[in-house]
């Protein structure tokens, strides 16, 4: 998937996550900044999940700023997918 612009999805509400996406030039790789209220307990899990889903979406060069307020895995997945698709200019069908 080719990212075109900055985009975000999610909120700062508790049990949610705010994900901001910024395209990077090809070959720059993934730069992920994760902040989470449950960093100690689940930080690694969330990071792994983000990588897995970026793999699945075919996104290599991207800067991600994720601010997590204790979101569940499926919420994180939905917010990430939405942010990426918004960045790629894909509208909901």
């Amino acid at each position: 998937m080719i990212l075109k612009e900055k985009a975000q999805a999610g909120t700062f509400e508790s049990s949610d996550i705010l994900i901001m996406v910024e395209p990077l030039e090809a070959g720059a790789g993934r730069k992920i900044e994760l902040k989470s209220i449950v960093m100690q307990q689940y930080g690694d899990d969330i990071l792994q999940q983000l990588h897995r889903e970026l793999d699945a979406l075919g996104v290599q060069d991207v800067r991600i700023i994720a601010n997590d307020k204790g979101a569940l895995a499926l919420t994180i997945s939905a917010r990430l997918e939405t942010a990426i698709k918004r960045s790629a200019g894909i509208k909901a069908s």
């Binding site: 999610g10 909120t11 307990q41 499926l74 917010r79």
Partner: protein
């Protein structure tokens, strides 16, 4: 749609709704406000079910009042307010120049901690830049209290339906308790108001009024005010009794009311130096308050017929039990009267066992009609015209044991006859006969206290009828 896509659709609806609400918050913040957002902590879907909607509007008001107690005025009318299946939300904007967001957070935390259901309520503070102010505290799971909430949530520790039932039962209990508390305040105020109006009615034949003590030498207006002031908390206890007593447990009801009645007598004796200003009134009013509370809680409104039934139901056999049979204690005036005059002298007990006929047919109709004409804030003089008519109407039929016990049958009949004459004249606007009676009762020291008690009960019933219709 399969269950799975169903779930995904729901999740999408929720995710979208959250984003939209967050935008609303940012918009409010953008106008130079700190934002106070009120939401409920409800897992699963729909987010609003049972009585949660009612609970939520109540909470929004409580929060507005809570902040107001710290001199921060939140206008409930200018709030952003939303409620649908994806949850309820109330937003208040507080101009950023009057207080810091951190200070607002401290107050909101105090609210959450002091409220019995504070863990179901999320009061979030966003500062004027849209940044959420965090307390940095990890809240425990409201269900198990053992682990931090985020762990139970993330690890799916509790079944969602169990959690929802848990919330619903807590909320229902909270609402029921609150309703009882409010009813207790209202009915206690009505009872005291009725007693105050009764004693303030001036002039009255032989009774204590605001200007003189009538036939009495050991009590006056002040004594009455002192006594009535001491009753207020106990009337509330009587309303709460409706929560504690099982519906079928008829025989236990009267003793339970009586135990509170005895406390009231104790309070009265304490402030009046053991002068009995209200013994009969306590008995009648306590019973009326209990039965009114019972009816209002059961039906949601006050129904006179149901009220009478309730009075009769809990006092059935009272005359037989307490007047026909000997008791081990000292006889009260009522008991002595009954021994001497039989059923005609059954007094307050006879009155309640028949379901307050003097109130329902003689006192209440006059007061109801009169108050309807006078409106909510009647003038002293106008109210007097109505209340004197009601008192006289009661006195024409009531076998007042206060009169009977001290003066005998003939005097009682004479008073009833004179009341009827005075009533006819009073209705025509002629007060001469009434004033003559007032004078005579004072001189002969005749005090129709039982009729005065029934007048207060009539007023109380009228207040209930007007309020809970």
């Amino acid at each position: 749609m399969s269950i799975e896509t169903d779930q995904i659709t729901l999740a999408a609806i929720m995710a979208k709704s959250r984003e939209r609400r967050w935008q609303q918050k940012l918009e409010l913040a953008g106008q130079g406000n700190h934002v106070i957002s009120v939401q409920l902590n409800v897992p699963g879907y729909p987010k609003v079910f049972g009585r949660l909607d009612e609970f939520f509007s109540l909470i929004s008001q409580e929060i507005a009042d809570f902040f107001r107690s710290y001199c921060i005025f939140l206008d409930l009318k200018e709030q952003v307010c939303e409620s649908d299946d994806t949850g309820s939300m109330t937003l208040f904007g507080v101009p950023a120049d009057i207080i810091s967001a951190r200070q607002l957070k401290v107050i909101s935390e105090q609210f959450e901690e002091s409220h019995p259901l504070g863990r179901f309520i999320d009061v979030d503070i966003l500062d004027v830049t849209g940044e959420a102010i965090s307390s940095g505290k990890l809240k425990p799971c409201f269900y198990c209290q053992a682990a931090p909430a985020f762990i139970c949530r993330r690890e799916n520790k509790h079944d969602i339906n169990v959690l929802r039932e848990f919330i619903e039962s807590k909320v229902n209990r909270f609402l029921a308790k609150r309703a009882t508390g409010q009813l207790a305040h209202t009915l206690s105020a009505f009872a005291c108001r009725a007693l105050l109006h009764e004693v303030s009615l001036t002039p009255k034949p032989g009774l204590v009024t605001r200007t003189d003590a009538g036939a009495h030498t050991d009590m006056d207006f002040t004594t009455f005010l002192d006594a009535i002031g001491s009753f207020a908390p106990y009337f509330q206890d009587i309303v709460r009794l409706t929560d504690q007593i099982e519906d079928k447990d008829n025989s236990a009801v009267l003793p339970a009311i009586r135990r509170i009645g005895l406390q009231m007598e104790g309070a009265m004796n304490g402030v009046t130096n053991r002068v009995n200003t209200h013994k009969g009134a306590i008995f009648l009013m306590a019973l009326a308050v209990f039965c009114a509370a019972k009816v209002i809680r059961k039906k949601g409104i006050f129904k006179l017929g149901a009220f009478v039934c309730e009075v009769q139901r809990i006092s059935i056999g009272l005359v037989q039990r307490e007047l026909c049979l000997k008791t081990n204690g000292k006889s009260t005036h009522g008991q002595k009267c009954f021994e001497q005059y039989g059923l005609e002298g059954s007094g307050a007990r006879g009155e309640v066992e028949q379901g307050f006929p003097s109130v329902v047919y003689y006192g209440l109709p006059v007061i109801k009609e009169g108050l309807e004409k006078l409106g909510v804030t009647p003038k002293d003089e106008d109210l007097r015209v109505v209340l004197v008519e009601a008192l006289l109407n009661i006195m024409t039929v009531n076998n007042d044991t206060n009169v009977l016990f001290r003066h005998g049958w003939e005097v009682l009949e004479e008073i009833k006859r004179k009341s009827a004459d005075a009533l006819l004249a009073w209705r025509k606007g002629d007060n001469a006969l009434y004033l003559q009676m007032v004078d005579e009762c004072r001189k002969r020291r005749i005090s129709p206290g039982g009729s005065a008690d029934l007048l207060s009960v009539s007023m109380f019933v009228c207040y209930c009828d007007n309020q809970f219709r």
